[in-house]
């Protein structure tokens, strides 16, 4: 058996990749690069070419975006090089919840109206939104994600086959091949349920298909339906059935923590490598439990590693730093600090920012990031403001997005020589932007009030 992850890398290229003869410029960066931390020198030029290609494509194929550009008096003739990128019209992330109402037909119509590709006919016959999302994914051969819906309305991001293949490839490559040497018999672990369309869990579920059933593990197999998520995020219980369903999910999630600890102890005995991906809150909860019961492990010997993502607000009024988190992981799991990393991503972005050993988050090279001031004018590196980005990997929708996140960007990492523009320190939310995060929703799901 190979020990260096060669089998998994090969499987990644077979299972989650586009045929090379169909690659566009952005695909050379996503599929062609071996290591996102060590990109070729011409990657920025390729990125620029990819962004221009993507802009032209959406302008030509997306009536909504075409009208948007015309309103701003911008056309492909105006976007010729990097210095023109600030002129590219960007869509606020709140747009993704602008669908007229939460009925399957209306969501589908809206997707049809705002997509850059033809998503076909509507012939759904099911009963609820969760069934609709299942149907839509199958019929579109893509992935649909919804946000945590903290405002009472979910963002819905639809990815066609091309975009979702890019997303899953980049996520797996980033997570599995940038921290330590991946072994072919590594176990992929997520302390949550992947039976959901909530961005984090759903993407992890799809990515876990790289592993066979014996090597992928989740703490729960309960369906976290969109209806339940809505109940969670708004507190609007519709009836006894939903309340009971919610209680059962909460119980299963709580029971799942014990299941996870048992599994980790079993793998520790076998000395098999673990690649755990988690929301900080989920792991924090498990660590609380371990500390209360005096459990410690030594997973460092198997070169195991942990990646988190999805928000740092562990408790309502408390932010935990990445370093504090790493320290606790080292203490309880015996995993060295450098084998724990955090990753930043957004529902709408087909890219990611994985932290290096120095805890700076390195953005994948095809994303063109910007920081904007209150008037949406660009700020320079080193200044804090609203995060926006041009993502040429979005095919079914224009990936030119203004977010509600507040960040500071640095042109290069002050701690290491790895590739990528870096995001410094914690990412927070802009004033006026609604709270976000699958992690926050998970926090609520696990919150003590529901244990009672």
């Amino acid at each position: 058996m190979q020990k260096n992850g060669g089998v998994l890398r090969k499987r990644l290229n077979e299972k989650f990749s586009l045929p090379k003869n169909e690659w566009r410029s952005v695909d050379q960066l996503i599929f062609g690069a071996q290591n996102y931390f060590d990109m070729p020198k011409d990657s920025r030029e390729k990125r620029n070419k990819a962004i221009i290609e993507a802009f032209n494509f959406h302008y030509d194929n997306n009536l909504f975006y075409n009208k948007f550009c015309k309103h701003r008096k911008i056309s492909p003739q105006d976007i010729k090089s990097e210095k023109d990128f600030i002129k590219i019209p960007m869509i606020p992330d709140a747009f993704f919840k602008d669908y007229p109402s939460e009925t399957p037909e209306n969501i589908y119509k809206w997707l049809y109206q705002v997509s850059s590709i033809d998503i076909g006919d509507y012939n759904f016959n099911g009963n609820n939104l969760t069934q609709f999302l299942q149907w839509a994914e199958e019929s579109l051969n893509g992935l649909i994600f919804h946000s945590s819906g903290t405002s009472g309305k979910f963002s819905i991001v639809f990815r066609d086959n091309i975009t979702s293949t890019r997303l899953i490839h980049l996520l797996l490559k980033e997570v599995l091949f940038h921290i330590t040497k991946l072994q072919d018999n590594a176990h992929f672990i997520y302390p949550g349920s992947t039976k959901t369309f909530l961005t984090g869990g759903h993407a992890i579920g799809k990515a876990s298909e790289l592993f066979d059933d014996k090597h992928r593990h989740f703490s729960s197999d309960k369906l976290l339906s969109l209806e339940i998520m809505k109940l969670m995020s708004t507190g609007q219980a519709k009836g006894l059935k939903e309340k009971l369903e919610l209680k059962m999910i909460q119980k299963a999630m709580i029971k799942g923590r014990y299941k996870m600890i048992d599994l980790l102890q079993e793998l520790e005995k076998k000395n098999e490598q673990i690649a755990m991906i988690t929301f900080p809150i989920l792991l924090w909860d498990i660590m609380d439990l371990m500390e209360n019961e005096g459990i410690t492990m030594n997973l460092g010997d198997s070169d195991s590693f942990i990646i988190s993502g999805g928000g740092w607000k562990i408790h309502t009024h408390r932010m935990v730093s990445e370093d504090e988190f790493a320290g606790r992981i080292e203490k309880l799991f015996g995993i060295p600090k450098e084998n724990y990393r955090d990753m930043y991503g957004m529902s709408e972005m087909n890219g990611a920012a994985l932290s290096c050993e120095g805890r700076y988050k390195h953005l994948t090279d095809w994303i063109y990031p910007m920081v904007l001031d209150e008037e949406m004018e660009p700020l320079g590196f080193g200044e804090t403001g609203r995060f926006a980005f041009l993502d040429p990997a979005g095919y079914g929708y224009p990936g030119f997005i203004i977010t509600g996140d507040r960040v500071k960007l640095l042109e290069e990492c002050p701690k290491c020589g790895k590739s990528g523009i870096v995001i410094e320190s914690e990412v927070t939310r802009m004033k006026g932007a609604e709270g976000k995060g699958c992690g926050n929703l998970m926090r609520d799901l696990m919150a003590k009030k529901f244990n009672q």
Partner: protein, 348 residues
């Protein structure tokens, strides 16, 4: 999508509207009971009103300087647009489109001279610029015309009334919404009764809406609630007629209702709530005055055109219809495949 349009003069409260209010009443009463001590905090506000022989929920600032009758001259009252007794054109509760001053302002804004579209824009802009958002008991169109402004529903009433007086059919639409964080912090955050009620419900239902004006065969929505200086004070874009305001996210669904007339009794529905949270209401009104002052300075400094230009970056274009998208794609496909297109046209 709103399922049904309720026509008529509003002798009865339509069931969807009543249901919306009833669904909010339970949580509201619960949090009033839970935070009953807060009602005592209203005592100074009540005493002031008692001294002035006013109701506990009354708005007590002098608004006479804002009476818009002052801008009308004698000739404005001559040759007024004709009255019509048709649905969406006739006067209804809180929408006194037959009042001489409402008809006069409609005439002054170009009714009968401008196209329906231009007149609607003029009416929208006038209400948005001249009348201010104030939380106070509902007064209707005429009262709003004669004062500084009123609630969002009062401003809608005034826009609907001017539109009807000018011969452009108009109706109301109420819907559920989620305010953005800034508005939440301003309107709901400081008062535990309002905040906890909202947090339990997850959104506000049937407390806000828009006017819909029938122009060139289509109902076009306008929400003049936030005047330019309030928008500027809050850093929000100034919205034109037909654009979605930036301070809230629409939550469509069962709370969504379109109707011709506010129903009987509606005017008094909110008075009790106002009385319960009167201290907070006074504070919110003061804060909004401060924000308007701040916004005025911003607009004085850079000019409204420049402010709109800068904030245009927030602009979201309307979503094209399915048939528009279909036609766009067909055109593109035809351009890419001229041969296929010509074969199809022969078949046709």
């Amino acid at each position: 999508m709103a399922k049904k349009v309720v026509t008529g003069k509003g002798y009865l409260i339509p069931w969807p509207l009543l249901r919306n209010y009833l669904s909010q009443l339970g949580p509201l009463l619960f949090f009033v009971a839970k935070n009953s001590n807060l009602i005592l905090e209203n005592m100074p506000a009540y005493k002031t009103r008692l001294r002035l022989h006013r109701k506990p929920w009354a708005y007590i600032k002098n608004e006479s300087e804002f009476d818009s009758r002052k801008i009308l001259k004698e000739e404005d009252y001559k040759d007024l647009p004709p009255l019509k007794n048709e649905p969406f054109l006739r006067p209804t509760r809180m929408c006194e489109s037959d009042a001489p001053e409402i008809r006069a302002i409609a005439k002054k804004l170009g009714a009968g001279k401008l196209s329906d579209e231009k007149f609607a824009e003029a009416a929208y802009n006038w209400v948005m610029h001249e009348k201010k958002l104030i939380f106070k008991p509902l007064g209707g169109a005429l009262n709003t015309f004669r004062t500084k402004g009123g609630t969002c529903l009062d401003q809608l009433s005034l826009l609907v009334a001017i539109s009807r007086a000018g011969g452009v059919p108009a109706r109301y639409r109420l819907y559920g919404l989620v305010p953005d964080q800034q508005i939440y912090d301003l309107w709901l955050g400081p008062n535990p009764i309002l905040r906890e009620t909202y947090d339990t419900l997850g959104f506000l239902e049937a407390l806000h809406g828009e006017a819909e004006l029938f122009i060139n065969g289509k109902w076009v929505a306008g929400d003049p609630t936030f005047s330019p200086e309030l928008n500027a004070g809050m850093g929000l874009p100034v919205t034109h007629f037909g654009e979605e305001p930036g301070w809230r996210i629409r939550v469509e669904g069962k709370g969504d209702i379109r109707f011709e007339s506010f129903p009987a009794g509606f005017k008094h529905l909110m008075s009790g709530v106002l009385a319960i949270v009167q201290k907070s209401i006074d504070q919110i009104n003061n804060t909004m005055n401060d924000l308007r002052e701040k916004g005025e300075k911003i607009l004085d400094e850079i000019g409204i055109e420049e402010y709109i230009r800068k904030n245009k970056k927030h602009f979201k274009p309307s979503i094209p219809s399915v048939s528009e998208v279909h036609a766009f794609r067909k055109k593109k496909k035809d351009a890419e495949e001229p041969f296929a297109s010509s074969v199809l046209s022969e078949d046709d």
